[in-house]
């Protein structure tokens, strides 16, 4: 539990906190993401982020940073000379204190 969850769609992984850099092709250059996370998954995130930046450039929109907020996760990325540095941060449920 924790790292790997099961769902009807197959293996769905709960990603941990980490950061990695990718080149302009979305290939991972360096990473602090735990090795337990499949490399293909990290690469897929990298390629998607790079594609979003590249798409923006093709549409003549210049962005240097993005933040994709999901229900349980947040991906933030900063463009770096065609590639990107990407930060993964799971959203933790907020604690409600009762007094």
């Amino acid at each position: 539990m924790g790292i790997v969850n099961k769902s009807k769609g197959g293996d769905v992984r709960r990603l941990p906190t980490g950061a990695f850099t990718v080149d302009a092709q979305g290939q991972v250059i360096s990473s602090t993401v735990p090795r337990a996370v499949p490399a293909e998954l990290v690469e897929e995130i990298g390629q998607c982020v790079v594609a979003v930046f590249q798409g923006a450039r093709k549409a003549n929109l210049s962005f240097s940073e993005m933040a994709a907020q999901y229900a349980t996760f947040k991906i933030t990325a900063r463009e770096m000379r065609g590639g990107a540095i990407i930060f993964l941060s799971p959203k933790t449920p907020q604690r409600v204190s009762s007094s």
């Binding site: 969850n5 769902s7 769609g9 769905v12 992984r13 709960r14 990603l15 998954l41 897929e44 995130i45 998607c48 594609a51 979003v52 798409g55 923006a56 093709k58 549409a59 003549n60 929109l61 210049s62 962005f63 240097s64 940073e65 993005m66 933040a67 994709a68 907020q69 999901y70 229900a71 349980t72 996760f73 991906i75 000379r81």
Partner: protein, 364 residues
């Protein structure tokens, strides 16, 4: 109260000083005219009190006019300078202009020329240096020209640029722009911020070879990006400020369902993208709505798919930040996508919060 202009006249010929002092005192603006027969004394006078205008000869013993110009232009970038010389030499003229003089005059030889000279002085004094566009310091060229010159000449220097109370620096190393700083901005953001200033002053300071490199794009690429973004910004402003232009672009929000959403703080444009790709988008304040819509649709699909794959759930909001403005994008199954643009200076968390409110209002 009328402004009392102060003119400093520099010439090694006492007769010339006397003649021009009388001539200039008779100008309609009745300026205070000080004289100096040497470059060193002129610089000392400039240090002791502020002047509106320096009129200098070029050929003088010890410190010649060009040397004086080089010092004065660096130390007093606001000062208006006129060269008044007896020798018409093209090389002198181009060197003087390169040093940032406002006018280059051959000493008048008849009454018509004297009158023209006086008119020019009066006109120059009447100009408010701060109300004009262009960067003074080097021939009032645009800042882009100045940076290009520095880069093309492969020089190394630190450009200090100021606009009113704000100032910035651009580090140039062997013709490459390696870093910039302006207020809280650094690197490319600072460079683009500085380039957005319409007027000001600049000085070229000695290079700082040890300064770390923070900008890796080429100078030409940076200038092109900045020029393009400024054009888009101007286009957006024109569209937003002119109702006629806005309506022509389909951007007039007054009579569209987008009108209530434009009231949110910091909103610069709005774009709604229906789920049906063939249906028309609705936009306000956005020039290239079709391109933006195509990108937004694709980016949303890509990230939505990624979210499903990594088990992150549905994509709640995508926020992107550029130097020109920030964008936020959120989707609704039936209504499609809502994309909003926010002013660049708006904090990121505020963009995200405001987008939540706009999206809720739009969906409701």
């Amino acid at each position: 109260m009328a402004i009392q202009y102060k003119i400093l006249l520099l010439d090694d010929d006492e007769h010339i000083l006397e003649l021009y002092q009388e001539l200039l005192r008779a100008l309609p603006s009745q300026p205070e005219v000080h004289v100096s027969n040497s470059g060193a004394r002129a610089i000392a006078l400039l240090e002791s009190e502020p002047f509106s205008l320096l009129i200098t000869d070029l050929r003088m013993p010890k410190m010649d006019g060009l040397q004086v110009l080089a010092i004065v232009r660096r130390k007093y970038p606001h000062l208006r300078i006129i060269v008044l010389t007896g020798v018409l030499d093209e090389e002198y003229r181009s060197r003087a202009y390169a040093l940032g003089v406002d006018m280059f005059w051959q000493k008048p030889s008849n009454s018509d020329e004297f009158q023209l000279f006086k008119d020019c002085i009066e006109s120059l004094l009447g100009r408010d240096a701060h109300s004009e566009g262009g960067f003074r310091g080097m021939q009032s060229k645009s800042l882009v020209d100045l940076i290009q010159l520095e880069c093309l000449s492969q020089s190394s220097a630190v450009l200090h640029i100021s606009q009113g109370a704000v100032s910035g620096r651009i580090w140039v190393q062997n013709g490459d722009i390696i870093d910039a700083a302006a207020g809280s901005f650094t690197g490319e953001d600072a460079f683009k911020e500085i380039l957005s200033w319409k007027s000001g002053n600049f000085e070229i300071k000695p290079a700082e070879p040890e300064h770390p490199r923070a900008i890796h794009n080429s100078a030409q690429g940076l200038l092109l990006d900045s020029a393009q973004a400024m054009d888009e910004w101007r286009g957006h402003r024109a569209g937003a400020e002119s109702p006629a232009a806005g309506e022509a672009e389909g951007a007039g929000a007054v009579n569209t369902p987008l009108a209530p959403l434009t009231k949110f703080e910091g909103v610069e444009f709005l774009l709604t993208i229906p789920p049906d790709e063939k249906a028309a988008c609705d936009s306000w304040g956005l020039e290239n709505a079709q391109d933006a819509a195509a990108w937004a649709r694709t980016a949303h699909q890509q990230l939505q798919k990624l979210g499903e794959k990594i088990g992150a759930g549905s994509l709640v909001q995508l926020t992107v930040f550029g130097w020109q403005r920030s964008w936020a994008l959120a989707g609704h199954e039936q209504k499609g996508l809502l994309c909003a643009g926010f002013r660049r200076t708006m904090p990121k968390d505020k963009v995200e919060q405001t987008m939540k409110h706009i999206f809720t209002k739009w969906v409701s």
